[in-house]
Symmetry: C2
Subunit: 314 residues, 2 copies
């Protein structure tokens, strides 16, 4: 099996590649290392080929799709909050990049795509837990808009050109090799100042967290067992964890026990933040897959891993 | 009130402008006349200002948003079937153009957008009639993908930057000044050959049709009476009409009574065609608006109007 992983040098992509390599896939990584890291792939041999290319460049990525069986499309602007500063980041790195991917697949007759979508497509005020058939999906962040647009591009290439598609709406995926997100930010803040931890919002934001190993195992389990033309699944864990609790766990794990936790206030961490999110995972569970970690366990496991990676010494 | 209408020289846009002018709005039309026609606006005076500009060109449209109160964004690739030939038409003229519009609004502090979406965002196999809260929305046409992407751009600009948004998912809108679509096509076919009418598919495709006057009246009624930050409404009529019945009506109205109706076969008219579509309109009806025409009446009314506009003599 020859696979492409876009964003393969990134957090989730590199974990997925570990699994693909273990089962014998030949992997082509399309990643410009804008947020991914070459070291996340350095333990692999020639079974993994890294191409340093920007997937917003259609002509540059097209030739690499020849002879490929499956595309795992994970590349995207990794920081959901950036969208409020430069407003075309998600349009280019999300929507247009996804067009480039599905169109390259059409041209080279690649049959199957996995698309990494997100819980943020559900927008504000969705019921919790949110099932896959919730509607309407009206995201409030620019990142969410690009994920919804990407889903529609995949579904229309399935409906019009006969691709097979797997769309996964991820909860907050956390774990080792994390390069952004709340736990990563908290550790860096405590590294700079062990006496204070600033939390964006009131800390009552409450979301479900899934450990990255659980996430990539779920992806491959679903793809091995579900064979509709278009397959849509939420991927998440059984419960939620508040940002307040995450702050406490990170303070404990860093040993910065004197740190004062300071809240900036307001229900949202930033414009476009969805304060409460929990995905319904019944559909995933019905495929026979279950997660190893609940949200709080995933948070603690991740805090330990990232503290070791980042290091607390200045 | 100063309004922008993108695609204002087009079929629906020009009817909307008639209403806006009648109530005293000053209207700026952004339209490159790729499918719209200057003659659809020629009965207006200086109250309507036409700017010949391509809305895929951000720098060219931006200055026109200064001092504007409301934007009616109707411009799009008008022919849903084109997407199967050139695959980036809807991405550019739909998704990227909509980004250009909402971003221009943000920069110039324009408060309110009306976005013309479509029943095709619901994709295949939606329940009939389809309510606004149906999910997931996984369109099968490239046009549908761009409409779903446009909705998400609007909702994210509402959620992140505080715009007010009105999203209308249109049934098949038909009427005088129509420039494309099944009735338009049938009349042109009978004009070329009065003895045969080729119908794409098996003719059993069955959709709801809304007369364009009803459509623009509904838009303005909802906008005058609903004031949420984001307002989503299906616009349609109470019933459906089959393509087979449309063919019979066009044959009757053209007087080509000897025409043999020939079906190309298959349940879809083209790749990406949704064979059956009927929108739930309870939400629209609850605002106190009702339609004048049912689907078959709208079809007959349109056939008569377009026969007069197109003319049957060669």
């Amino acid at each position: 099996m020859r696979s492409i992983v876009t964003g393969g040098a990134g957090f989730i992509g590199s974990h997925l590649i570990d699994r693909l390599v273990a089962r014998g896939d030949e992997v082509i990584v399309l990643d410009n290392l804008s947020s991914g890291k070459a070291e996340f792939l350095s333990h692999h041999d020639s079974q993994v080929k890294h191409v340093d290319v920007d997937i917003t460049n259609f002509d540059a990525i097209l030739p690499h799709f020849k002879g490929v069986d499956v595309v795992y499309h994970l590349a995207a602007n990794p920081d959901i909050r950036l969208g409020t500063q430069v407003t075309d980041t998600d349009l280019k790195q999300g929507t247009i990049a996804t067009y480039n991917v599905v169109e390259s697949m059409r041209i080279h007759n690649v049959s199957t795509i996995m698309f990494a979508s997100s819980s943020v497509v559900y927008g504000d005020n969705a019921p919790m837990p949110t099932p896959e058939d919730h509607g309407p999906c009206l995201p409030i962040s620019l990142y969410g808009a690009s994920k919804n647009a990407g889903e529609s591009l995949v579904s229309s290439w399935v409906g019009t050109f006969g691709l097979q598609g797997y769309i996964f709406r991820f909860a907050n995926i956390i774990g080792d090799r994390g390069t952004h997100g709340v736990i990563f930010d908290f550790i860096h803040k405590l590294k700079r100042n062990p006496n204070e931890l600033e939390v964006l919002g009131d800390g009552l934001q409450e979301k479900s967290y899934m450990e990255v190993g659980d996430c990539v195992d779920a992806i491959l389990h679903v793809m091995a067992n579900q064979h509709e033309p278009l397959n849509l699944f939420n991927l998440g864990s059984h419960d939620t964890c508040s940002v307040r609790r995450i702050a406490e766990i990170v303070v404990e794990e860093t040993g910065c026990l004197n740190a004062e936790i300071v809240y900036t206030g307001g229900s949202r961490g930033w414009a476009g933040d969805v304060p409460r999110a929990m995905l319904g995972i019944d559909k995933m569970l019905e495929t026979g897959f279950n997660v190893k970690y609940n949200s709080e366990e995933a948070v603690r496991h991740t805090a330990r891993a990232l503290i070791e990676e980042i290091g607390l010494d200045n």
